[in-house]
Each structure stands twice: as structure tokens, then as C-alpha cells.
Symmetry: C2
Subunit: 332 residues, 2 copies
């Protein structure tokens, strides 16, 4: 590893390459988080993938045995009828000495707790308005999630060329990470050009050797193209970008054609539990699972080490290529 | 003007800055085309904005008097019930000695004609599949139009971080321009990072001193944000990204709620002739008019000279800033 980059992100987190692994449900386990961190990026354990706060404690301890590099824990707080014990998850994260957290959703009760514990907070947003509110709460980095991203992409459909540029215009001195649509070093260089200090990648990391999901799903990602995602649950203002498989397409059809508009009609199709099984049994049609538009850019299943080193090299080559377009370097 | 950039686009077209003005209906007149070309970019006259081929001849001649720099003519061939005499427009373009053309739509009958006349052809596409077909026809540059773009953005909703990256993966040696979502030099640097040799901007050029449209419309663009566009006519697979004004919102409402699905119900609202009047009378609600997502990035009404010089400077500063993130430049 060359460790060629030095941005606000690498400095604040103590990582070598400005690449953050997305906090993914049923994927963000210790195996992947440690592999990403060992390769020089920031690995992330997804708290809610663990059934109880006690399980999260064990998972964090397992990860510590697998890497001596910094890693983070993601805590996403979505509105739900039976919310998990979010505060207890937060308490475990702090008690285990985790110093970097990725937050998303309705986090106003946990941000002060993490700040008091001296954590660096990376907060995910899909709009500039929510980003500004998060800055007022005191988060350290925004993670700007464009229309391209997997899962909850928001309702405004603003892609990253616009959203990241707006972040540069509006977020003042708060550094931001570009998230959604990234899979390679050209993307990292592009994000740096727009003003980001790094990138966050989810789908790309699902398709690595160390991602603890069934090989058939990684193969499915490699074979897919940029037209293989589907926006589901828009009707209920809860848009999710999912892999375009049978249940996702069926859910969209019901969503479009239902005269009642009752969520119950699609609920069995969009069950997260069935999505979890997909990653275990390898049947891409068994349930819905999230995938970002960068699924179209992914062509192989490397190790995290190979992937992150390659991204670093590609980003350096890209900057060099841009430089080669400048006729008179004295103008720089 | 510094003329600092040297890309496949600047070399092939003999322009100083790798910025192409979009061929816009009711905006792409000689005033704007000559101003963009004089400022070092590529100005474009929109052929179909002229009522007859004879009018196009006059407009080209008028433009020649206003600039001695290269400029292009856009010929867009959309399926329509009463098609304009496309071949006659093409004949005028060739007879007037225009050596750069921008094409879009169903152009298979005019591409051989332009090639035979020695024109450099920039062809606009919203998908990789159509781009590959255009390369087989023999076009010289692809102009890749992402989901962000104004007007016909296609039906696949693939933003430029993905679509331009896919172009780099798929288009082989054919150079390509990134189009849609661009308004500044950071965007130009980002496009170069993803592999493009330049950018195409429409909405940004509408909001310049020389754009021959009413000042109120330019003011409306400055005041708008990234949420002020609307996708209209999706139901008929003819999606247009329009400024979110009263008729556009009304058309979307009818489109969503109509039980008959008859195009006639929205037709009066989406009339191009009323859109043309908007640019003349300055009433942003008089009819529908196209605007890209970069409307959210635009904050002023500069001259084309100021705008293009600024973009060049911003792009150079951006590349310099990316360089500053590289710890050890020997790795480049």
C-alpha cells in the first residue's frame, strides 16, 4: 500500500486511502469491516445487523481481533413501529471504545452522546437541508448520498454531480464524503474534483472476496448492468433502490397498479428478513436486496486489498491524466 | 483567455476551452453561439429554431459576421407527425461550409452526408447502447447526456457519474463529452476525471448576458434550486426535464391522475410554442421550458467570456487542489 493520499478524511480517521465502506444491513460484519480497514480504508460494522446490543459488543470484539486499524460502527435510526433499543446500541459502541461512528436517520438523541464520548461522527444525508441540520447538531463529516446510492436514496432524485457540488457551495468548512455511484479510482478523483474529501462505497464492497455473503450474489452483481436496479416504495415516500429481481419488480407493479395504495399489499415482497436470506442461500430472487447504480461498473470480485490499492492507483493515474491536459503547468 | 487545456476535443475542434454550448430550442441563435465561440468554447446554432432551411442559411451567415472562430450547428431529428425537411437543413449546413455538427435523434440518413462533407460529428445519446450504434455509424465524438440534463433525458435515469464511467468502459477509442449537470470548472475537472474530453452545458449558457432570452428568465434560473425541475411526459416514454413551473406541474398532475392516459389531455400544457413565448415575454409560467438539474448550481448572469474564463480557472485550481492531496508526487 502506498498511502499516497492525504485529505481531511484520511487525517481525521487515521486511514491510508479516503475510501469508507458503507454500513450495509446483513453485509457489514467483522469479516468485511476488518478486511477494508486492513486494506487501508475505513471498515464499518452495521450495528442493527446484530440482534441485540450484546451481540454488537461481541461483533466489535471479534473485529478488534481481526484488525489493529481504525474501524467504525454504523447506527441508522429509521422511523419504525417497534424501534430497536438504539440508546443501548450507542452505549455499547461507546463502551467498546469505538472512536468513529457513521450515523443516519433520526439521530438527534445519539449525536450528543457520541460527541461527549469523543467520537468522530460521519453522518449520512440525501439532501442539503438535512446536511445543514446535521452540522448544527455537531457532526464532523457529512456523507452525501446521491440518487445513485443503494437503499434509501431519498425522494428528491438529485444525483451526485449536482448534490456534491451543492455540498461544496453550501456546507462551509464541514468536510464531506461523496456516497453512491462509486466503484473505482476515477470516481474517487471525480469526487475530489467536486470538493469531497473521500468516497463511501457499499455495493462495490459487497462484491469482494471478504464480503460475508453468498458467492452467487457476487456473481449476480458482476453480471448486472446499470439498468438492473429498481426504485421501490416511492408511493409511500420511502424510496429504496433495490436490485431489479423478481420480488422487486412485482412490488413495483403492485405499487403502480394498486387501487387501495395499502402498504400491506407489498409488505411480504419487501421483507428485509427475506433479503437477509438471499445473502445466505445465494438465490438472488428469494427476497429484495439493495444495490446501487454502480452495480453497472463492477466487473470482478477482488480482495479488499486489491480493490483499495487499485482505486488508489487509478485515482493517482487519473489526476496525472488530467494534468497531462494542462498545456502550461505554470498556470496551475 | 489562457487556453490552458489541450484535450481530444480542443484539438479536433480548434477551440481553446473544452466546453460545448448545448443546442437549445429558441436559445441557440447567432448571438449566443458567437459569444460562446468568441470566448473560446464551441458555440452552437440550433437548426430547428429557424422556421425554414433558408432562415438557417441566414442565421449561419449572421453568426459568421459575429465570430471568426469555429462554431457548430445542431440538428436534432425527433420522431414527429409532420417532420421538418431535415435533409434540406443538412444541405444548408454543408453548403455554408460548417465543419462541426451536433446531431441527436434518428440521424442515420444525415450522418453519411455530414461525413462525406468532412464534418466533425458530435452525437448526443442518453444510453451506452445508442452510443455504440452511433460509433458504428461513424460519428467522431459522443456527447453523453445524463439523467441530469434538460429536455429529453431518456427513460433509463442513469446519472453522469455512472453513465460517463460506463462510456469510459465501453466506448473504446471514441472520445466523449459529458453533458447534463455541468455549470462550473469543478464539474469540468470531474468530467475529465471520469474520462470525458470536455463538457456540454445548456442551462448554464441560458443564464449569460448574451443568451437572447428575456432577463426575467435568467433571474428565475438564478433564484431556482436543484429541486426546481420536473420530469414530464414519462407516461408516454418521452420524458422531458422541464423547469418546475405552473404548466409543468399541472401536466404532471394530469399525467399521474388521468384515467384515459390520452396525450391530448396534456398537449396544450406542454406546447413548445408557448415555451418559445416564455423566452420572449419573460413570464416563467407562460408555458413549459427545459432546464437541467444544474439550475441549482447557477448563481449569477455573467458574460460568456467571464463564464468560460472562470470555468477554465476553476478547473485548473481544482486539478491543483487534487494534486495537493497527493503526499508523494513521485508516485504520479
Amino acid at each position: 500500500m502506498s498511502g499516497a493520499f492525504d485529505t481531511a478524511l484520511t487525517r481525521a480517521l487515521g486511514i491510508k486511502v479516503p475510501v469508507v465502506q458503507g454500513g450495509m444491513m446483513w453485509v457489514g460484519y467483522a469479516e468485511l469491516a476488518s478486511a477494508v480497514s486492513n486494506a487501508g480504508g475505513l471498515g464499518i460494522i452495521t450495528a442493527l445487523t446484530q440482534p441485540t446490543p450484546g451481540d454488537l459488543r461481541n461483533e466489535i470484539r471479534r473485529c478488534k481481533k481481526m484488525t489493529d486499524k481504525p474501524f467504525a460502527v454504523n447506527l441508522t435510526m429509521l422511523p419504525t413501529i417497534n424501534p430497536p433499543p438504539y440508546q443501548e446500541y450507542a452505549d455499547v459502541i461507546i463502551a467498546e471504545g469505538i472512536k468513529i461512528v457513521e450515523t443516519a436517520g433520526l439521530v438527534k438523541d445519539v449525536v450528543p452522546k457520541f460527541k461527549k464520548a469523543g467520537c468522530t461522527i460521519l453522518h449520512k444525508c440525501t439532501t442539503i437541508r438535512h446536511s445543514l441540520a446535521a452540522i448544527r447538531m455537531g457532526v464532523d463529516f457529512l456523507s452525501i448520498d446521491g440518487f445513485e446510492c443503494a437503499g434509501h436514496c431519498g425522494e428528491t432524485d438529485i444525483p451526485n454531480f449536482i448534490l456534491v457540488s451543492r455540498a461544496r457551495q453550501e456546507l462551509g468548512n464541514t468536510p464531506f464524503i461523496a456516497s453512491g455511484g462509486f466503484a473505482d479510482g476515477q470516481g474517487l478523483a471525480g469526487a475530489l474534483a467536486l470538493g469531497a474529501c473521500g468516497i463511501n462505497m457499499g455495493t462495490r464492497f459487497m462484491c469482494t472476496i471478504e464480503a460475508p455473503i453468498h458467492h452467487n450474489i457476487k456473481d449476480t452483481i458482476v453480471k448486472a448492468d446499470e439498468n438492473d436496479t429498481e426504485l421501490v416504495l416511492r408511493r409511500w415516500n420511502n424510496t429504496n433502490r433495490l436490485f431489479k429481481n423478481k420480488p422487486a419488480q412485482e412490488a413495483v407493479k403492485i405499487e403502480r397498479e394498486s387501487t387501495t395504495g395499502k402498504f400491506e399489499e407489498v409488505q411480504p415482497l419487501v421483507s428485509g428478513q427475506r433479503g437477509r436470506q438471499v445473502f445466505l442461500n445465494g438465490d438472488p430472487d428469494f427476497g429484495v436486496w439493495t444495490a446501487g447504480l454502480c452495480i453497472g461498473l463492477i466487473k470482478d470480485i477482488p480482495t479488499c486489498e486489491v480493490l483499495i490499492s487499485r482505486i488508489e492507483r487509478e485515482a493517482l493515474d487519473t489526476i496525472n491524466k488530467q494534468l497531462s491536459y494542462v498545456k502550461d503547468r505554470s498556470k496551475l
